[in-house]
C-alpha cells in the first residue's frame, strides 16, 4: 500500500525495538500512555507490546470516543429516537453502547427508526431523501470527527435542509488529559500523542504536558513502526533529561494543525461548561455543543430529552481502565459477563476500546522477561 508498507517492515521494527532496549535503564519502570484508542488497537493487533522490554508498560488512555459516552447520553439518544417522525442516525459502534435500559440497537429492534451512517453527510442525505421526517444525527468523537459534523451542519444551512439536526456529544482531548495528570493514583512517564486529533488541533495544545507536568509527548501515527518509533523518541527524551512535544507523524500532522478546520469548529461549536465522561465524571470545558449561530440545528433544543445522569453499572470498571489504573483483564467481569457480544461496559464495545482490543487479540495476561 502506498505510504503504508514501509511502516510495517518487520526488520525495521526489530531494529527500533533494539534501540528501545538500549535506551531503558535496568531497574526503572516506564509507564507510557497511548492517549488514542486507535493506538491501543494497533498495539494489540500488531503485538507491539511483545517487542518491548518488560519494564516498558503501555497504559491505555481515554481516547476512544465511544467508550467515554455516559449512559445518560445513550438514554437521551434512545428517547429522541422514539419521538414520532424521527429518523435517528449514528455511527456503527454507538448503536451497541448499553444505556440504562438497552442500547440503540435494542431500540431499533423495538421499532424506532435508527439507521447507521458512515459519515454525517450520509445523515444529511437521508434528511434530503425524507423531507417529511425529522432526521437527527448523534454526533460523537474528538476533534478528528467534529470538523466533519461542523461541515455537514454548514452544508445543511447552505442547502436549506430544515429537517436535519444534531445531538452533539463531541468531546475535546486536552481536558481529560489534564484530569488524568492531576489524578493522584496514576504515575506516567510520557505520552504517545493522538495522531489524527493532531491533524486538526496540531501539536501545540499538548505543550502544557511538558511545560506544566514535565512529561514528554510524541505525536504518533498508527502503523507499527510509527508507534515503536514514538516509544523510542519518548525514551530518548527521558534518557537525555528532556521533555517536549515531538511530532513523529510529520507526514500527516502539521505542528499548527488544520487552521481551516479550527475556524469551522469555532464557528459551529462552543464549549459546554461541563461534560460527563464515562468513568471519569464531569470535566469542565471538555464537551462541545452547537454555537448560538447554529442553535436552530441543535436536536436537544428542537426536541425534549430527559437529560438524566445515570450511574455506571457497579460491576463495570471502565473508569479504572480508561484512567489506566487497571488492565482490562483485571476487571472482575472481563471476558466472563462482559464480552464484545454482550458488553457491560463501553470499553468492550468499540474495537478501539482497550477491553475489546485485549479480548479480540487474545491478550488476557502475559509474563515478560525482565530486563
Amino acid at each position: 500500500m502506498k505510504f503504508v508498507d514501509e511502516f510495517r517492515d518487520a526488520e525495521l521494527g526489530r531494529a527500533v525495538a533494539g534501540e528501545i532496549l538500549s535506551l531503558v535503564e535496568p531497574g526503572r519502570h516506564y509507564k507510557l500512555m497511548e492517549v488514542c484508542g486507535g493506538h491501543t488497537h494497533s498495539i494489540y493487533k500488531y503485538g507491539i507490546d511483545d517487542l518491548l522490554p518488560a519494564n516498558v508498560e503501555l497504559v491505555h488512555g481515554p481516547g476512544c470516543p465511544v467508550c467515554v459516552i455516559p449512559m445518560g447520553r445513550v438514554d437521551d439518544g434512545i428517547a429522541l429516537a422514539h419521538q414520532p417522525g424521527v429518523i435517528f442516525t449514528c455511527f456503527g459502534d454507538m448503536m451497541r453502547i448499553p444505556g440504562s435500559d438497552g442500547s440503540l440497537l435494542d431500540a431499533k429492534a423495538a421499532g424506532a427508526d435508527i439507521r447507521m451512517v458512515y459519515s454525517p453527510l450520509d445523515a444529511l442525505r437521508i434528511a434530503k431523501q425524507n423531507p417529511d421526517r425529522e432526521v437527527v444525527f448523534f454526533a460523537i468523537g474528538f476533534e478528528t470527527t467534529a470538523p466533519s459534523t461542523a461541515l455537514t451542519l454548514k452544508r445543511a444551512r447552505a442547502e436549506g435542509v430544515k429537517n436535519f439536526s444534531c445531538m452533539c456529544s463531541h468531546v475535546t482531548i486536552v481536558p481529560p488529559l489534564r484530569a488524568l495528570l492531576e489524578s493522584p493514583d496514576l504515575r506516567l512517564d510520557g505520552f504517545i500523542g493522538p495522531g489524527h486529533v493532531s491533524t486538526v488541533v496540531g501539536a501545540r495544545p499538548f505543550e502544557f504536558i511538558p511545560a506544566d507536568y514535565g512529561k514528554p509527548v510524541v505525536i504518533a501515527g498508527f502503523e507499527p513502526l510509527d508507534i515503536l518509533q514514538a516509544i523510542e523518541m519518548i525514551l530518548r527524551q527521558l534518557k537525555g533529561g528532556r521533555c517536549e512535544v515531538e511530532n513523529q507523524y510529520k507526514r500527516v500532522v502539521p505542528y499548527a494543525g488544520n487552521l481551516r478546520a479550527l475556524e469551522v469548529l469555532s464557528e459551529v461549536f462552543e464549549l459546554r461548561p461541563h461534560f460527563e465522561w464515562r468513568g471519569l465524571g464531569f470535566i469542565s470545558h471538555s464537551g462541545l455543543k452547537l454555537s448560538q449561530a447554529y442553535a436552530d440545528l441543535d436536536a436537544e433544543l428542537r426536541f425534549s430529552v430527559p437529560g438524566l445522569r445515570v450511574a455506571d453499572p457497579k460491576a463495570c470498571q471502565c473508569g479504572e481502565v480508561l484512567k489506566g489504573v487497571i488492565k482490562p483483564w483485571e476487571c472482575k467481569v472481563f471476558g466472563t459477563a462482559c464480552t464484545p457480544e454482550r458488553p457491560i461496559g463501553t470499553c468492550m464495545v468499540s474495537s478501539e476500546g482497550a477491553c475489546a482490543a485485549y479480548y479480540n487479540f487474545g491478550r488476557f495476561a502475559r509474563e515478560r522477561e525482565v530486563v
Binding site: 500500500m1 502506498k2 505510504f3 503504508v4 514501509e6 488514542c36 484508542g37 486507535g38 488497537h41 481516547g63 476512544c64 470516543p65 465511544v66 455511527f91 456503527g92 459502534d93 454507538m94 447507521m116 451512517v117 458512515y118 459519515s119 454525517p120 453527510l121 450520509d122 442525505r125 460523537i140 468523537g141 474528538f142 478528528t144 470527527t145 470538523p147 466533519s148 459534523t149 461541515l151 455537514t152 452544508r155 493522538p194 495522531g195 489524527h196 486529533v197 491533524t199 486538526v200 501539536a203 498508527f222 511530532n247 510529520k250 507526514r251 500527516v252 500532522v253 502539521p254 505542528y255 499548527a256 488544520n258 481551516r260 478546520a261 469551522v264 468499540s350 474495537s351 478501539e352 479480540n360
Partner: protein, 84 residues
C-alpha cells in the same frame, strides 16, 4: 460535474475508523470543485464521496487522510513530510 452518492454504509470491519481517532488514506480520483466534494478510492479500490473543504485545493492523484467522510489532512511521503 456531479459525483454520485456513496454506497450503503457498512461498519463491519474489525476496526471502526469512523468512531475511533482514525483516518483512512485515500487517493483523489475526481474533484467536484463546485460542491466541495471529491470521489476518492481507498487502497482496496473502494470508492467514496469525500468532503474536501478543509484540504482544498486538491488535484486527482493526491493522497488525503479521510475521517468520517471528510478529508482532514494531506498525506505526504515520509521523505516529503510537512514542515514543523
Amino acid at each position: 460535474m456531479t459525483i454520485g452518492a456513496t454506497a450503503e454504509p457498512a461498519c463491519g470491519s474489525e476496526h471502526c475508523i469512523t468512531c475511533g481517532d482514525d483516518g483512512e488514506p485515500m487517493t483523489v480520483i475526481k474533484v467536484d470543485r463546485d460542491r466541495g466534494l471529491a470521489l476518492c478510492a481507498d487502497d482496496d479500490g473502494a470508492r467514496a464521496t469525500v468532503e474536501t473543504a478543509l484540504v482544498e485545493p486538491i488535484e486527482p492523484g493526491e493522497r488525503l487522510l479521510v475521517h468520517a467522510g471528510t478529508a482532514i489532512a494531506h498525506v505526504y511521503r515520509a521523505e516529503d513530510e510537512v514542515a514543523g
